[in-house]
Amino acid sequence: MSMVYEIGFAWASIVAYAFASALSVIGLFFDKEKVRMWAVRGASAGLCVHSVSIVIRWIRIGHGPYIGFYEVASLLAWLSVAMLLWLVWRYRTLSSAGVLVLPIAFLIMGASLLVSKEAEPVTGGLASYWLAIHVLFANLAYGSYVGAFYLSAVYLLREYGHDRRWASVLDKVPPQEEMDGLTYRLVGAGFLFQGVMIASGAIWANESWGRYWGWDPMETWSLIAWAVYALYLHLTLTRGWRGKRAAWVAVVSLPVIVFSLIGVPVVYQSIHGAYLKM
């Protein structure tokens, strides 16, 4: 019975995200702040019911949302919306960023509900407290990088779209330098969290398989993603890349981390493949 509620709440969150997506697009292109705020309220409602769905499943199956494509995709969508709402709470004028986030969250949730929702048991190599540590920091890293992506995308929209009809919406967004600074801090935080994720993964791999690093595609790509953000930090801090250039690096870096989280197990044969079974 609780699986019915779990799926029901998940579908309710998709409806809420879809509703919020539509409102955010309308609010942006017709410059209606009230409509954009209703989009934020819709996203908040979606996040609440989405949280209920995750918690019901967690209680039902006895582990967190980190095994199988359904759980991983659902959590990534949750993190994307949660980071958007945090930024809007901090800077109300960033509500226009919803147009970037909500359609993607809606699509990810939709995709997750098309695959198997059977719970994968925590057995064998997965049965370790390192799993929770590793996944926690992976999610914190993703959330931070997604926030950096939003801010950079809004930065670039304002830089390149200043003569567009909807550009006036972005007038009230925090100053470019402030967004640049906050992007840097979010990337820094994500870099730290991802470093801990990689370290905990290596320690766990040594406990589970007898080697801390094996150049498995998942391991290699997590290092690649970390190196990409290391490049952002070096270019920003030591080569003086600020503003548009830094924003572009933050924007094109996000697909790398997303690919390393959910693309690699789909594309490559990986020892980590079990965690993203469809």
Binding site: G125, G181, A199, H234, R242
Partner: protein, 457 residues
Amino acid sequence: MIRVRRRLWALVRSRRLAVWLIGGITVYAMLATLIPLGAAESPDVQVWASAHPVLERFVAATGMHLPFRQPLFVIASVLLLVNTAGCSWERTVGAMRALGRGGRLTPGILTRLNEAPTFTVRIEGDTSSALHAVARVLRESRQRSVVGPKALTSFSFIPGFLGSPLFHWGLVAIFLFVGAGQLTRSEGYVDVVSGGSVVENEEAYLGDGPLRGPLFGGYTGLTISVTDVERGATIDGIARGDVPTVRVQDGGVILAEGRVYPNNPLSVGSLVIHRKDSGPGMRGTLVVPGALNTLPFEVPFPGDVMEGTVQPRTIRTTLAGEEVVIELRPIKGARVAVRILSPKTLSTGSATAGEGESAKLPGGMVLTVDELTSYARLTVVNDWSVPYIYAALVLASIGMTIGLVWPPREVYARVADDTEGRTRVNVVVIARLSDPAYALSLRRRFDAESGMEVEAT
């Protein structure tokens, strides 16, 4: 010569070089993931090679099936290590220099305050009250200030200055210990039938790091025994598969013993034993006409009998001066199929035997199945560097955390003039390399204070 050394030192700690090396290694790693990794004879490599014959010629020639052992990658990694060490040293010196200033206004900072301040603030009040107001605003952004008669110096949390150096030195340590560990580690696997044992020696290992012998000499010679294999064990409510109980002994002294399963290896010093696989095994004896004694043997059989994937194994002996190869294969019904593979003159027909039974073989040989049991394949790794790598990871994480939470900032303020009840204060902010937006946020804080106004620049 001094010029050469200076240029070399500048290159070693060059940030541009760091960017190029990180970027280059990243692209190389991306390309490497497009090609299956492994030795030429591995199944994945062979399948890929036959599907891409033209590409395979290039890949094989460049060794890209083992990309992370190629000289290009190794050299780039060593260069990155040297560059990181250079940067670490530079950051350490910079941090020490900043801390060594101890709140003094050096000539360089005085010049900047007088000629090129970051910004200037007009504050209502005399010199003393203006500087104390500046100190108050700085306190709100977690800066600690020392107020003098005409100037003020302010530092962020002191350990924050060590965050970046600590992180970079942690990276250097990781590089060094990983490299040293890879050069000296031994890794392999042993198949041990339940009730049997093997000695940790050269035969147990698939490969050693090239410096293992010169630095560490031979092997431990410890005895690794499997006293029991519990099939389909459930431990702490979780299915763990087949779980062997492993014992490590030095002569008659038991050094360690315990059940081995994923996330629960057995460790003795730097020697770590994991469970890799398990399957049926047998213990038996072979009587060969003309031999002085019966020949006991133990044989593991990788695979699964019920699923039909079990792999046969062979034992060898000598009969009338000729080598005899006997194949053994467990079959359903708890029996073992026995046949002679060579010489051809003896390879007529086959026999089966259950536990406690004997099979008569051509040539007068008799094979007895003493026990049908299980075996465990154990991975054996001897790598002294692992705890040091963990320590370096912790060091780097602490450094990163400190650098992020308490970015090092210095703020210097000096009274430019004091007229008509208003004081102009020049402010220099040093935080660009660690906190690029700080100067701007500080400027906004001052502007937001009543009685203060930041002059337009």
